[in-house]
């Protein structure tokens, strides 16, 4: 019972932002930032314990390469020293490089080679072939729209125009498909604020909003 009440209060504190930026929202915001930070730091501490403290200190594996990672990690804190601050860039460079390596791994296959795979343009039931032709044309023209050193003039103008139009179809489809997942959160929360005990909290919230609106108008 108490859980349902607290949950509905918390939801309405966040949703009060729909009316205006107010003290209730600010409390919710501060709570969320504080709690989320605590969660991520707790996860961080668990990583440090499981990956460093236990294998190295408890299991006495002093020569494991993880020590280099620990050294690089500590180097980040040279950021706070006036003379050694440049050393803090080393670990960040390494992790950014690794990030780019991860991003590149398989990207050319997934984003280029696999996308070039296309079916036959002439098929028995004609329809598939026409679809493949449209697929080919829309893909090529959207690709051709992004030519940077060729002006969109002459032969390239109609191609680029067809390209931007086919991209608009793609963006319209995405915008239309995406609403379903966007509204999922609100729909899942509604029962908490419509059914008792949340309903009573909602009524209190509505009264507060009306009162606040009335007071501000008078001021």
């Amino acid at each position: 019972m108490i859980e349902a009440l607290v949950t509905s209060i918390v939801i309405l504190m966040a949703w009060s932002f729909l009316y205006r930026e107010n003290i209730f929202y600010r409390i919710g915001e501060a709570l969320l930032v504080g709690l989320a930070l605590a969660l991520s730091v707790k996860v961080g501490i668990d990583v440090l314990i499981n990956r460093i403290y236990i294998p190295i200190v408890v299991k006495q594996q002093w020569l494991s390469p993880t020590l280099i990672a620990v050294a690089l990690g500590l180097m980040m804190y040279t950021r706070f020293s006036k003379s050694l601050w440049w050393m803090s860039r080393w670990p960040i460079a390494l992790l950014s490089g690794a990030g780019l390596g991860i991003a590149m791994k398989g990207a050319v296959m997934a984003q280029i080679v696999k996308q070039l795979d296309i079916g036959s343009l002439i098929t028995r039931d004609v329809f598939t072939g026409v679809n493949n032709l449209i697929l080919l044309v829309t893909a090529i023209t959207s690709l051709a729209y992004f030519l940077y050193t060729f002006e969109h003039r002459g032969a390239l103008a109609p191609i680029a125009k067809f390209g931007i139009y086919s991209m608009m179809i793609c963006f319209g489809t995405t915008l239309g498909l995406f609403l379903m997942s966007n509204i999922g959160f609100a729909i899942s929360l509604i029962p908490n604020v419509v059914k008792p005990p949340g309903l009573y909290v909602s009524i209190v919230a509505i009264i507060l909003i009306i009162a606040d609106n009335f007071l501000r108008k008078r001021k």
Binding site: L31, P91, G101, A103, T138
Partner: protein
């Protein structure tokens, strides 16, 4: 000592960091070193948390000193310290806060994605140009195509929606993806030869 300050060292580390996974991917060699590197990344990111927390604390302690919305800063620091302590002191309260306070608050904030999509429709979906007309026409068709009750009433709309989704939409998406793939390769090259230095603070 001054040799160590040179910018080339972080660039070399960056190159090592990005080439190692790729060598492992393309040739299968150095795969132990590559997976070791990726396990280091988690540790490095974890070490970085302290820098973030120090930044947040300094920001809010300055706020408190300057007297600007004090309770907001106190609440952030207070709830952080309290919840971090509770995580190790009392698992019961930790779980209670997680399921009754943190999760609903987190989902409620995520629900603004739904609210603001309507703001985007109202304020941004403007028929300002022919391309915008096409964008919004397709958006409306796909919105109706995705409406459960309209799907039940008009199957023809489902076939039209399916075609739009599977043919022109997929085609243009392929073009965009290929374009992104190419630009990423060029970005990768610029980063490896040290021309893209934003990770060094633009140094």
């Amino acid at each position: 000592m001054s040799f160590l300050k040179r910018i080339e060292i972080p660039i070399i580390l960056f190159a090592i960091g990005s080439l190692l996974p790729l060598i492992d991917y393309y040739t299968g060699n150095l795969s132990i070193q590559a997976s070791e590197l990726l396990s280091w990344i988690v540790i490095l990111v974890t070490f970085s948390y302290l820098i973030g927390v120090v930044n947040l604390f300094r920001y809010h302690l300055n706020n408190i000193r300057r007297g600007r919305d004090i309770y907001y800063s106190i609440l952030i620091i207070g709830s952080f310290l309290f919840y971090l302590a509770i995580a190790y002191l009392n698992k019961g309260v930790y779980d209670w806060i997680f399921s009754t306070l943190y999760t609903p608050l987190s989902v409620a904030i995520s629900s603004f994605v739904g609210f603001y999509t309507y703001t985007v429709f109202l304020r941004g979906a403007r028929l300002k140009s022919p391309t915008a007309v096409l964008l919004l026409a397709v958006t409306i068709v796909i919105l109706l195509y995705n409406t459960p009750t309209i799907r039940a009433l008009s199957p023809q709309l489902i076939t039209v929606g399916d075609w739009i989704k599977n043919v022109p939409n997929t085609g243009a998406y392929r073009g965009i993806l290929i374009g992104m793939g190419i630009s990423m390769i060029v970005l990768f090259m610029r980063a490896i030869i040290g021309r893209e230095r934003s990770y060094l603070g633009g140094g």
